[in-house]
Every structure is written in structure tokens, then in C-alpha cells.
């Protein structure tokens, strides 16, 4: 469906996205997550041919370039803010992009917008505008839907509704690339994780695999934590801090024990921990930041 190969994106001659490659397959819901300024929105804009880039982007084997968007005819997107003209009604805003009236009316009903769809959109609340923006992205049975922070301004009912609709569209074959700061919400729908920081993808795997690996962490406590941290840094052992503990990858637990023993540091606790999704993301980002800093 969507193939992104070795893209580099430049803004004011500064490289923002660095050699990023990934794929989004039909029916999958890919969660694009990362800290502020990581490059999530820039990646989305690049896919839509809205920024200068090198590398290759194709949708259904049709190439997207900065000035040729012909490959995007069946792509829907909501980037940054909903694109709504206040002098038009909600329905007129949809009509601007709709190719199929029945599909448009179906989306209006599905998103429960019937009550206000014929009123001028300048009077809409933030949540109503957001729903209209999502409706525009879902028009014309898109093969690929790109949503940047879709849950912004939505109340709980609308959030649940949008989640259900995303799953429904994915079941029918649409592919989704969604970015959100609300990781809990994203976790409930996504099938794949794409973790990005400093313009680079550091994780690209199915959510099940991500969750399985995320549980393979150990919490470590010693009698002399400052020396332990120093020792780990010297031996390039990736650790993160969690309260009073150090979190280490399970696969390094034997190496860590040997190291502590050889330096006469007494181990107080070494226990397997199941990090939740958010903790794992934070832990991975911290590791990446530290590695970048060391370089």
C-alpha cells in the first residue's frame, strides 16, 4: 500500500527526517509515535508530497513527488488542523472533496453529525470541527488514511466512536497511519508501532511483538547505585531509570550480574518487570537519547 524508502526531508536546508523507511499495508493501523519535534508531522507531510525530500514514496506503486500528487487520489488526511471553510456548512465542506454522495451521507451518519451538518461551520466547536476534519479524510473510501492527532478536542463518546470507525475501515482494507500523544488511545487501535525520535525510526514492529519485548525488562537495585550507573555507562550497558531502580534489558541480565560481582557491588534486587506501553516507549526514547548524547 504505502512504501516509504530511505526518505530524507529538509526544512530550511536542515535535515529533519533521516533515512526513514517503512511500509503500511492494507488493513493495518500504524501508530506513529514519538516526542514533540521528533518529525511525526513532517513524515506525514512528506508522504503527502508537501515537503522537499529525497528517497522514494509510493502509494499502490504510484510514486509521489513534491509537485505531483496524482498517486494520492485515494488518500485521505487530517494534518495539524481540520481544513474547514467557515463560510460553508459542514455538508458543503464535505461536498468540496466528495466523489460519492451516498458515501458522504453515510460518513455523516456514522460520525453522528446529522444534527449540525447543514449549519455554517464557523459556529462549530473544536470537537465538531475535528469530526468534520476526520470525515473529510474518510471520504471516497480511501486506501490510505493519514491522521495527525485525530483525538484532539474530542469528548469521550466521540473518541470511542472514532476508534470504532477506524477499526471498521481497517477491516474493510483501508490502511491507517496515525500519530497521537495519547498513547493509551492509540494502543487500543494500532496493529503496528512506528517509534520515531530525532527524525529516525527506532522501532518498527507489530504491536504484539512490541508488547512481548517490552516485558523483557529487569528492575535492578544495588547497594551502591551511583557506582553501578557509572560502571554501566563505562561498559555501554543501556539502562534507564525508573524511580529508585535501573531498568535493564533481560538479555543483558547475566552480563550485568557478572559485572557487579567482579566490581564487588552487592546486588539487592534483580526482578523481571512488565512495563506498560507508555513506560516502554519512554524507556526506549531515553535509551536512544543517551546513545545520541554519547555519540
Amino acid at each position: 500500500m504505502l512504501k516509504v524508502s530511505h526518505i530524507n526531508t529538509f526544512i530550511n536546508r536542515k535535515k529533519i527526517i533521516k533515512d526513514v523507511s517503512f511500509q503500511v499495508n492494507s488493513g493495518s493501523i500504524v501508530g506513529l509515535i514519538g516526542p514533540n519535534g521528533a518529525g511525526k508531522t513532517t513524515i506525514m507531510k512528506t508522504i503527502l508530497g508537501l515537503t522537499k525530500f529525497t528517497g522514494n514514496i509510493s502509494v499502490e506503486d504510484k510514486t509521489v513527488t513534491e509537485n505531483n500528487h496524482a498517486a494520492l487520489t485515494r488518500v485521505g488526511a487530517l494534518i495539524e488542523h481540520p481544513a474547514i471553510y467557515p463560510f460553508l456548512t459542514g455538508l458543503e465542506n464535505l461536498k468540496l472533496y466528495s466523489l460519492d454522495e451516498a458515501d458522504m451521507n453515510n460518513i455523516v451518519s456514522m460520525l453522528k453529525m446529522d444534527a449540525y451538518i447543514n449549519t455554517k461551520s464557523k459556529g462549530y466547536s473544536m470537537g465538531m470541527k475535528q469530526k468534520l476534519g476526520i470525515a473529510i479524510a474518510l471520504l471516497n473510501k480511501p486506501q490510505l488514511v493519514i491522521l495527525d492527532e485525530p483525538m484532539n478536542g474530542l469528548d469521550i463518546e466521540a473518541t470511542i466512536l472514532i476508534r470504532k470507525i477506524i477499526k471498521q475501515y481497517a477491516a474493510q482494507g483501508s490502511a491507517f497511519l496515525i500519530s497521537s500523544h495519547v498513547l493509551g488511545e492509540l494502543q487500543k487501535v494500532m496493529t503496528n508501532v512506528l517509534l520515531i525520535t530525532e527524525g529516525k525510526i527506532i522501532v518498527d514492529e507489530p504491536i504484539d511483538e512490541f508488547n512481548r519485548v517490552s516485558r523483557q525488562q529487569y528492575h535492578l537495585l544495588t547497594e551502591d547505585m551511583p557506582t553501578t550507573e557509572k560502571l554501566f555507562a563505562e561498559n555501554q550497558i543501556p539502562v534507564t531509570k525508573s524511580d529508585d531502580y535501573l531498568v535493564i534489558p533481560r538479555k543483558l541480565s547475566d552480563q550485568v550480574q557478572e559485572l557487579l560481582y567482579s566490581h564487588h557491588i552487592r546486588l539487592v534486587e534483580l526482578s523481571p518487570q512488565g512495563l506498560n506501553f507508555e513506560q516502554t516507549v519512554v524507556s526506549l526514547l531515553q535509551q536512544q537519547r543517551r546513545q545520541s548524547h554519547e555519540k
Partner: protein, 250 residues
């Protein structure tokens, strides 16, 4: 292209100003029709060129700014097959609106001439042609002048996102263009031959066409030269505006 052009017309047709402007044009022409010099006024479709130019500056400046203000530019760009079509569609839309305004100005002129200020349409007037031919040709010439103003407004719109600034600069070109051009062409003789080709000079095309003696001393160019210059500047401003729009980051 067809779909993106339809979108532009759809948006344009749903703006109140689009429909309100012809009424303003009519009121302006009625007020002007009270002045003497019937034949000159009839040839100038009751000074509609100035009113149309103001309308086009105001309407044209909102064509890009509404996209920026409503966060719609990204959607518009990716939904359009090419970046060029976004720029071109907007240009075509306002150009057609320009033609409609001129068409309405002719209809209003006939109505005013038949009721308030009767004129003899088939009597010879300027350029040894009947007044009616003068009027149609002056309208044709004004379409060229106003298209030049549209290309200037579009160029400014790609540089500045603020609607108010674009309107101000557009009106300044319109009202002060003559004075600036006059200053430029009055310079030393070596520079005058070059300075007379400045773009401000071309904005006087319509005025010179209806009052050749009054304007030739300022422009130092014939009507044909002004028309050629206007056409060349339309192409230059359009190309520059598009290139800036293409390079612009959103």
C-alpha cells in the same frame, strides 16, 4: 484539474463578497453617471474599470489568505494533482470573475445610458469608430489591465499571508502606480527609454486608451506597446508568483 477547478468555483460562489461586489459596482456606476461628458463616461462604462480593479484587489487577496487562515492549504495541495493546478485554478477563477464583472459593467452601462444618461451609440467617437465599438474595445483593454493587477495581487499573496497587507499593497499599486511611473519616466534621458517599460506604467493602459492625449506624456508608450508590456508582465508576475508558491513551506 477539473475537480480542483470545480472546488475553486464552489468556494468562490459561496462567498458573500462574490455576490455583493456587482451590487457595489452598480451603485458606483450610478453615482458616476451623474457627471457630464456623457460619451467619455459611456466609453469607460461609467468608470467601472476603477471599481472593478478595487473589487478584484479585495477578492483576489482573499483567495490565498482564506486557505492559510482556515488551515486548508495542506488539504488543498495534496488533493490537487499538481501544485501548479492550485495556483492556476485560482487564477482562472478570478479571471472568469473579472470577465463576468466586465460583462455586467457593459449591461449596466446600456441600462444607465438608456435611462439616466442617453448617448448615441452608433455616432463616431474616438479612433474614428462608433461609440459602441469604443466601449467594447475599452472593456477588452481593461480586461488586460485588470488581469495585470490580478497577477500582482497573486504575486504579493504568495509572499505575504496577511489579507490586509495584500489589499493595501494592491491598492497602493493601483492608486500610486501612476505617480511612481511618472517620477520614473521623468528621469534622465538615458534611463527614460528603459524606465518607461516599468510595470506601473502598464497599469495606465485603460486610462490611456480612453484618453490618449492626457496619458501619453506620462507613459511615453503607444497603446500597443502598453498592451504588449502588460501581457509580458502578466506572464512574468504569474511565473514568479507560482515559483514562490511552489517553494513556500506550509
Amino acid at each position: 484539474m477539473k475537480k480542483s477547478l470545480y472546488r475553486e468555483f464552489y468556494k468562490f460562489g459561496h462567498k458573500k463578497l462574490t455576490w455583493f461586489a456587482p451590487l457595489l459596482l452598480l451603485v458606483f456606476m450610478i453615482l458616476i453617471s451623474d457627471y457630464p461628458s456623457n460619451r467619455l463616461l459611456a466609453m469607460m462604462t461609467y468608470d467601472s474599470p476603477d471599481a472593478i480593479m478595487i473589487i478584484l484587489v479585495i477578492v483576489g487577496s482573499t483567495m490565498f489568505s482564506m486557505e492559510f487562515q482556515n488551515n486548508a492549504i495542506l488539504t488543498l495541495l495534496y488533493k490537487s494533482p499538481r501544485t501548479l493546478s492550485v495556483y492556476l485554478d485560482k487564477f482562472i477563477t478570478i479571471f472568469i470573475y473579472n470577465l463576468i464583472l466586465h460583462g455586467l459593467a457593459i449591461i449596466f452601462t446600456f441600462a444607465l445610458a438608456a435611462t439616466i444618461n442617453p448617448v448615441s451609440w452608433f455616432a463616431a467617437y474616438q479612433y474614428h469608430q462608433p461609440l459602441i465599438v469604443n466601449m467594447f474595445l475599452a472593456t477588452g483593454v481593461d480586461i488586460l489591465t485588470t488581469t495585470l493587477i490580478i497577477s500582482v495581487v497573486f504575486l504579493i499573496s504568495t509572499l505575504i499571508n496577511s489579507n490586509a497587507v495584500v489589499v493595501t499593497v494592491g491598492l497602493a499599486v493601483m492608486f500610486f502606480g501612476e505617480a511612481i511611473s511618472s517620477d520614473l519616466t521623468r528621469g534622465s534621458s538615458a534611463l527614460t527609454s528603459l524606465a518607461k517599460w516599468n510595470p506601473f506604467n502598464m497599469t495606465m493602459l485603460t486610462h490611456q486608451y480612453v484618453n490618449y492625449a492626457g496619458y501619453y506624456d506620462t507613459t511615453l508608450l503607444s497603446n500597443a506597446q502598453l498592451a504588449t508590456g502588460a501581457l509580458a508582465y502578466i506572464l512574468v508576475f504569474f511565473a514568479c508568483g507560482y515559483l514562490i508558491f511552489r517553494k513556500k513551506r506550509f
